[in-house]
């Protein structure tokens, strides 16, 4: 019984089996939503991993890994000669070391390749000093610029990374080299974590926040502060006043967009604009931002949260080409 309960309580078992067992026939998204309603964890977004079956890693010259341990999410990307071979995107736990390993293990889970085949591994992000398998660390600023250059093409000049707890505005050249940047990491206002708190407050699954904030008849005034603490009390006041949850979300998304614009304007907005990080998936914020600055952000088929880890793996590839990589068996 004890072992059963232990297995039942382990997050992976819970995630993978329980809801699928309880609700066969539901799609991933529906399972997510059902799970969120049942557990009350409305902030919980879907973790993922992926493998490019077309790439044969044995034939590649350099295999590089980028691990981006952020404050809220962690990603690992495996690249073969600068092409994405596998990736994973998971939630950062309370321990950066574990999160880095978990992200890498998740990326390597379905591969025949082992870690000793890797020529270079770079750690980046907030928890980069705690990536035990990394050969060196690079700031997430450099990595996001490089990653955005890969994901969105060389026309990108302004990269906006809205992460879990900070906002970075980066200007870069056609090679993805940073020319001007600014990071606001003192205050988490207008970041992903703030949005998670809001999703929980209003009992709306995080994946629906964007759509529902746009599903309103009239745009409400933005809450005066994107500060998570103040906005929360302001939102409660709005709910009490009789605004619908959708309208409250709209007011908060608008406040976030305003906050992001303030930071963007400090480095100057130059097209093309690319948005990386989890907030790029929130239509409510992105559309309001687009409306205000009048520039359409570029789109990508890849997960926008991967930009940092992709950049790190690409730097690893460049360093390998400079002869700094490990020799492998």
């Amino acid at each position: 019984m004890v072992t059963f309960m232990a297995a039942f309580n382990s997050p992976t078992f819970y995630k993978k089996n329980f809801f699928q067992l309880c609700s066969p026939g539901l799609g991933n998204e529906e399972v997510d939503n059902l799970k969120q309603t049942q557990t009350g964890e409305f902030w919980r977004w879907r973790e993922s991993n992926w493998v490019n079956e077309k790439i044969e890693w044995r034939n590649s010259r350099y295999i590089t890994v980028g691990i981006d341990v952020g404050s809220v999410s962690s990603q690992a990307v495996v690249m073969c000669d600068g092409e994405i071979y596998a990736y994973s995107n998971i939630r950062t736990g309370s321990n950066s070391l574990d999160s880095a390993s978990a992200a890498l293990n998740s990326a390597l889970a379905n591969l025949s390749m082992k870690l000793d085949a890797v020529n270079y591994c770079i750690g980046t992000g907030y928890g980069r000093v705690n990536v035990p398998m990394s050969d060196r660390t690079v700031t997430e600023i450099a990595c996001h610029a490089r990653g955005a250059n890969f994901l969105f093409g060389p026309a990108v000049r302004t990269v906006l990374d809205v992460g879990g707890q900070d906002i970075k505005a980066i200007k870069c050249d056609s090679e993805g080299k940073v020319t001007n940047f600014l990071m606001n990491d003192k205050c988490a206002a207008g970041t992903g974590r703030g949005m998670e708190v809001f999703a929980d407050l209003l009992s709306i699954p995080i994946g629906e926040v964007g759509d529902r904030s746009l599903d309103i008849s009239e745009e409400p005034a933005a809450v005066s502060s994107a500060c998570v603490v103040y906005a929360k009390s302001e939102a409660t006041a709005l709910l009490r006043k009789g605004l619908s949850p959708n309208e409250v979300l709209a007011a908060y998304c608008a406040a976030m967009a305003n906050r992001i614009i303030m930071i963007l304007e400090r480095v100057g907005i130059e097209p093309e604009l690319a948005i990386t990080g989890g907030m790029a998936k929130n239509k409510g914020v992105v559309e309001r931002l687009t409306r205000k600055i009048g520039i359409n952000p570029l789109k990508t088929a890849w997960d926008s949260q991967l930009a940092g880890a992709i950049g790190a793996a690409l730097f690893g590839y460049s360093l390998c080409k400079k002869g700094k990589g490990r020799t492998t068996k």
């Binding site: 690079v138 450099a142 001007n180 990071m183 606001n184 990491d185 400090r266 400079k322």
Partner: protein, 96 residues
């Protein structure tokens, strides 16, 4: 590369901007600053393919620059800061 170290909060923008392209890591600002906010990084943490040393703001002080710099900022906007005087190539600027 223009590197803005600092933060913006409800009361304003507090950034020290260092032009890392211009900066040759001579260290004059480090000696001039009474609050020791500057330090030399052996390699540019934001440009991994460049092995040149560069001046940056002490990691510990980035989030309290407003207070660290207060002793030089006391005379208001017109005061000329020791770090700006010391830098022979004008690579440093302040946002407030």
């Amino acid at each position: 590369m223009l590197v803005h170290h600092g933060y913006s909060d409800g009361s304003g923008n507090y950034f020290i901007t260092i032009n890392s392209e211009k900066c040759d890591a001579c260290g004059a600002c480090i000696n001039a600053c009474p609050a020791n906010v500057f330090c030399i990084f052996a390699e540019d943490e934001n440009d991994p393919l460049n092995d040149r040393p560069v001046v940056s703001i002490d990691q510990e002080k980035r989030n309290k620059i407003k207070y660290e710099c207060a002793q030089c900022k006391k005379c208001g906007k017109d005061s000329i800061l020791p770090c700006l005087i010391a830098c022979p190539i004008g690579a440093i600027s302040h946002s407030w």
